[in-house]
C-alpha cells in the first residue's frame, strides 16, 4: 500500500537509507516499484488519468475551469449565472410578485384566474359560504323564505312578510307593510247577483244565487243560495233584448222575499218578452 488511505505516501521499508549503505537491486526495485504504483494511482495533470473515486476538495475551489459542454461536464459559475438570467427572462420569479408578466390577460387565462375590479371573467360563484351583502349587490341572506314578500332594509338583509291568513292583503301601517285582513265595509259589497239568458235560462255568472226559474215568457224567479235577513235588500237590475241599442227594454221586480224575487222583462208595446241578457244585483 503506497498511500495510507488519507493521501499520505510513505516510502516502503528499508527507507530512508543511511550514508554508506550499498544500494542493492532489491532495495532499488522494491522502492521504485512502490513509487511507480503511487504515481499510477495519482491524477495526471494532462488529464490522461481517470479518477476512480470522488474528488475531495476540502472546501477549496476548482479554479480556471472551462465552461462545460456535455451534460456530464462540470459547470462554471459563469455558466450558471447565464442560465439564471435566461430563466428569469422566461419564467415567473417569486421575488418579482408576478410583476414581470408581460401579458396579464394571457397570464390570467393560463392561470384560470379572474381579473380584479370590473370584469367579465367571473360568470359563476359556487363556493361562497357567506352571502353577498346588500352593499355588494347581494341580499345578505342565505335563504329567502318561500312565498314571503321581501321588504327593503337598507344595507341589511331584507325583512320578510309571510302570507299569513288566507285572504289577507299587504297593508301599509305608515312605516312598513304587514299582512292583514282587508278592511271592507260589508254593506258596500253585493250580497247576490246573477246574469242569465232569458229564453234558454243559461246562467252566465252568479253569486249567492242557487237558480233562476223561468215561469213564463219574460217572467223569472231568482232564488238565493243564502236568504237575506229581511226583504229590505236593494235590487239593481238591467238587461237587453237582441242586444239592441234601440229596444225600449224594461224590467221590474215584485214578490220580493228573503229567499227569492220575481223579475219581469218586457219591451214597450210588446208585452213580456224574454231578455237576451238579464242581470240583477242585490245589496243589503
Amino acid at each position: 500500500m503506497s498511500r495510507n488511505g488519507s493521501g499520505t505516501y510513505t516510502l516502503p521499508a528499508g527507507n530512508p537509507v543511511v550514508t554508506g549503505t550499498t544500494i542493492s537491486s532489491t532495495w532499488a526495485n522494491n522502492t521504485l516499484t512502490d513509487i511507480a504504483t503511487a504515481l499510477t494511482g495519482s491524477l495526471a495533470a494532462d488529464g490522461q488519468t481517470t479518477a476512480t473515486g470522488n474528488l475531495k476538495m476540502g472546501a477549496n475551489r476548482i479554479t480556471g475551469l472551462a465552461d462545460g459542454t456535455l451534460s456530464t461536464d462540470a459547470t462554471t459559475v459563469s455558466q450558471v449565472d447565464t442560465a439564471i438570467a435566461a430563466a428569469a427572462a422566461t419564467y415567473l420569479l417569486k421575488a418579482s410578485n408576478l410583476s414581470d408578466v408581460a401579458n396579464a390577460t394571457t397570464a390570467r387565462g393560463n392561470l384560470t384566474a379572474a381579473k380584479s375590479g370590473a370584469n367579465s371573467d367571473i360568470t359563476s360563484l359556487t363556493g361562497l359560504t357567506t352571502p353577498l351583502t346588500v352593499a355588494q349587490g347581494g341580499t345578505g341572506a342565505a335563504t329567502l323564505t318561500a312565498n314571503n314578500v321581501l321588504l327593503g332594509n337598507g344595507t341589511s338583509a331584507p325583512q320578510f312578510v309571510a302570507p299569513s291568513t288566507n285572504g289577507n292583503v299587504l297593508t301599509s301601517n305608515g312605516t312598513t307593510w304587514v299582512s292583514s285582513a282587508p278592511s271592507t265595509n260589508a254593506s258596500q259589497l253585493a250580497k247576490a247577483w246573477v246574469k242569465w239568458a232569458g229564453a234558454s235560462g243559461t246562467i252566465a255568472s252568479s253569486y249567492n244565487v242557487s237558480s233562476v226559474t223561468r215561469n213564463s215568457t219574460g217572467n223569472y224567479t231568482v232564488n238565493f243560495t243564502s236568504a237575506f235577513a229581511d226583504t229590505n235588500y236593494a235590487i239593481v237590475y238591467g238587461g237587453n233584448r237582441n242586444n239592441s241599442a234601440t229596444d225600449a227594454f224594461g224590467m221590474n221586480f215584485y214578490s220580493q222575499a228573503t229567499g227569492s224575487v220575481i223579475v219581469n222583462t218586457s219591451v214597450s208595446g210588446g208585452g213580456y218578452t224574454d231578455a237576451t241578457a238579464a242581470c240583477i244585483v242585490c245589496f243589503a
Binding site: T213, R214, N215, N223, T225
Partner: protein, 105 residues
Amino acid sequence: MAQVIIYTNDNGGVSVCTPTGELSIEQVLAKDCPAGAIIVDDSTLPTDNEYFNAWELVNGTVVVNETKKQAIIDAKQTAIDTKASALAKLAALGLSEDEVKTLVG
C-alpha cells in the same frame, strides 16, 4: 247536456228552473222547487222558446199545447193588425208613428 228542473206552475204552464251550480241540482230541487218537480236533461225540452207559454208537462214530458200556441199566434197577429190599423188612422190624419211618440212622450 245540462240538467234542469221542471214542474207545472200555478198558471198551468211549465216552469223551468236552471241551477247556477252553487248548489247541487238535488239541493236546488229541494230548496227552490215545489213537490212534484222533476230533473230532466234540457235536450228533452222543446226547442221553440217563442211559444214557451204553450208548454205543458204531461207525464213527465214537456209538450207544446197546440191550442195555446195558436192563441199566442193569434194574439200576436191581432197586436200587429191593431197597430197597423192605428198607424193607418194616424196616416189619414197626416201623422207618423214617430210624431205621435214625440207628442205623447
